[in-house]
């Protein structure tokens, strides 16, 4: 018997009359990413996000890679991962991937947010309203991709908005606009899926048999990802979960177990108190107890 809940509260907010949009998203082709990090810089500039550490006066070095950003966070909404696969000197490859919020069709963060700060927009993207978020951090642990974190300037949870302000004005998001190789492509999700499928076919015909799409299948995990990727190695190698899941998968089972435990504890408490009472009544009414 499945204990999964139906998909909850995933409808978009009402779009202004006459302004319905088709779902928009990103297709990131990792095979043409050169690791220039132009997308990271463009994102920071457009969204006025602070540099890491003390504002750039002392650059933090990772010490493990040329990638010194290392992760997405509340003030880094685009992050180019450098995956260095060098089993032997002069033999190996670098995999580059510009990571971002996946704008999941069934978004775990939106599902658990207790303030209603996280909403689905008319573009089918997922946005955190910074004036509503109070920094409870429930969404951080719910995101299966480790995308969200606290922005220490605002004290609220933040992540990529898919440049809601820009796309509302008919512009392309800053990162895809800045990408010099078109590794990041922006557009209607269905169009991007068709383009991505053609690219996979092309790569297969060129001999790169390991190419596949991660998150493009609307019947896949989380109902598909509006920001999906073309990869050439296992998802884990790119720091992506093989099976991203909704956090509410545990809700029914966990609640049931706790409820059974609560009933047992209440019953044990009541029965032991009643048993004590009966014993004492017997003791006081027994012939030996009589004066």
């Amino acid at each position: 018997m499945s204990l999964a809940l139906p998909i909850l509260q995933q409808q978009p907010v009402a779009a202004p009359a006459g302004k319905a949009h088709e779902p928009m998203g990103f297709f990131t082709d990792t095979t043409v990413c050169i690791g220039c990090k132009a997308c990271e810089v463009a994102c920071k500039e457009w969204n006025q996000l602070p540099a890491r550490g003390d504002g750039g006066a002392h650059l933090e070095m990772s010490g493990q890679s040329y990638d010194n950003t290392l992760r997405l966070s509340g003030d880094t909404w685009r992050h180019v991962k450098f995956i260095e696969q060098f089993p032997e000197p002069y033999q190996g490859r670098w995999l580059m991937m510009s990571d971002v919020c996946k704008h999941c069709v069934q978004a775990p963060c939106l599902e658990v947010c207790p303030t209603g700060a996280i909403i689905r927009t008319e573009f089918d993207t997922v946005v955190i309203q910074s004036d509503t978020c109070n920094g409870c951090r429930d969404c951080i642990g719910a995101c299966p991709f480790g995308v969200i974190d606290i922005n220490h300037v605002s004290g609220t949870a933040q992540k990529c908005t898919l440049c809601y302000d820009r796309i509302s004005a008919g512009l392309e998001p800053a990162c895809s606009k800045a990408c010099p190789t078109d590794s990041i492509q922006f557009g209607p999700v269905q169009m991007l899926r068709d383009r991505a499928a053609a690219r996979v076919e092309q790569l297969h015909s060129l001999g790169e048999k390991g190419a596949y799409l991660y998150g493009a299948d609307p019947k896949g995990p989380l109902g598909g990802l509006n920001a999906f990727f073309l990869l050439v190695d296992e998802p884990e190698v790119y720091g992506l979960p093989r099976e991203p899941k909704l956090p509410t998968r545990n809700l029914v089972r966990s609640t049931l177990l706790s409820t059974v435990g609560a009933i047992v504890m209440a019953a044990v408490g009541a029965l032991t108190l009643r048993a004590r009472r009966i014993t004492q009544v017997k003791e006081t009414t027994s012939p030996e107890a009589a004066p």
Partner: protein, 312 residues
């Protein structure tokens, strides 16, 4: 450790920074919930001799509720927006998601606080400390029984929902098992008993019969807790390897050994009649309950991906 194919999907998430304030909340909120469960049980099924400790349990639950609320607000990134959990700031409508344990928990804590207040006012009225006649009515049977039934539900809810909240995430350990809610519930009841025994001794209002019942109830709870903690570890499967470090040692020695087995041995050897043994057993249960929350939260908190490496 370098990221490898086949790693559990929960490893690729970020820790939500649930650290010491949340650990304290889980611990104090648990004691508070457990204390109101005990007060309610004694009110509904106990006798006149239980009343002093019943009243003390009511005060403990109210104090814990107030501290819990403060801890939760201070822990927020923007504490002044705590009310966004209850009222939608854009519409003024109530904010409630029955499928989000944090949303349910906020309302649950509020309801719990109401019943803890009711129980405490009833206790003050019964002690003759309330001079206003309408408040003195709170000690009377219909209202007190209503408060006790509400308190029983509220206390059990507060005792267990925190574990469900952790399970409804995507974090390693927390989301890899469905047993945390039940485990936290049992631990909350046992720490509630321990706190009440210590507070009763401190206030010198112990009653031998009530103390004996509390010790007996605690033994049953600890036994169940031991079974559930084993179920929890088994249910983790391969993720249980995350405990092959100092956290695992703390779990086995501190939580299971000191917090469960030692108090059980003290109880079974019938040493509980000695006042020192009661204090020792209760102290061990409290330390074990606190360590349980430390181990569960921080062992998961430290697991994170940075670059191409998983740290755990």
């Amino acid at each position: 450790m370098i990221i490898q194919a086949g790693m559990p999907s929960t490893y690729f998430t970020e820790p939500p920074h649930f650290r010491w304030l949340i650990i304290l909340y889980f611990f104090i909120g648990g004691i508070s919930g457990g204390a109101l469960v005990l007060a309610s049980l004694m009110r509904l099924f106990g006798r006149a001799e239980d009343r002093p400790l019943e009243r003390l349990a009511s005060y403990l639950s109210l104090g814990g509720a107030v501290i819990s609320g403060i801890l939760l607000i201070v822990d927020l990134g923007v504490p002044l927006r705590f009310w966004h959990m209850m009222i939608q700031n854009h519409t003024g409508l109530p904010m409630f998601k029955w499928w989000s344990p944090m949303s349910v928990g906020v309302w649950g804590l509020l309801v719990f606080g109401f019943f803890a207040l009711l129980a405490s006012l009833g206790a003050l009225a019964a002690e003759g400390r309330l001079r206003w006649a309408p408040l003195r009515a709170l000690a009377n049977r219909p209202i007190a029984i209503f408060g006790a039934i509400g308190g029983l539900f509220g206390g059990l809810f507060l005792a267990g929902y925190t574990g469900v909240l952790l399970a409804v995430t995507n974090r390693p350990i927390w989301a890899d098992s469905s047993w945390l809610g039940l485990l936290f519930l049992l631990s909350a009841v046992s720490t509630g008993v321990a706190a009440l025994l210590l507070a009763g001794r401190w206030r010198r209002i112990e009653q031998p019969d009530t103390t004996a019942w509390l010790m007996r109830f605690d033994r049953i709870t600890l036994l169940l807790e031991l079974v559930v903690i084993l179920c929890f570890l088994v249910s983790l499967g391969g993720v249980a390897r995350a405990f092959l470090n100092g956290w695992g040692v703390l779990l086995v020695v501190g939580v299971i050994g000191l917090g469960i087995l030692l108090p059980l041995v003290i109880g079974w050897r019938r040493l509980e009649h000695g006042a020192r043994s009661v204090v020792l057993a209760a102290g061990c249960v409290l330390v074990g309950g606190f360590l349980l929350r430390v181990v569960v939260l921080l062992s998961s908190e430290q697991i994170h991906v940075l670059g191409t490496q998983v740290f755990r």
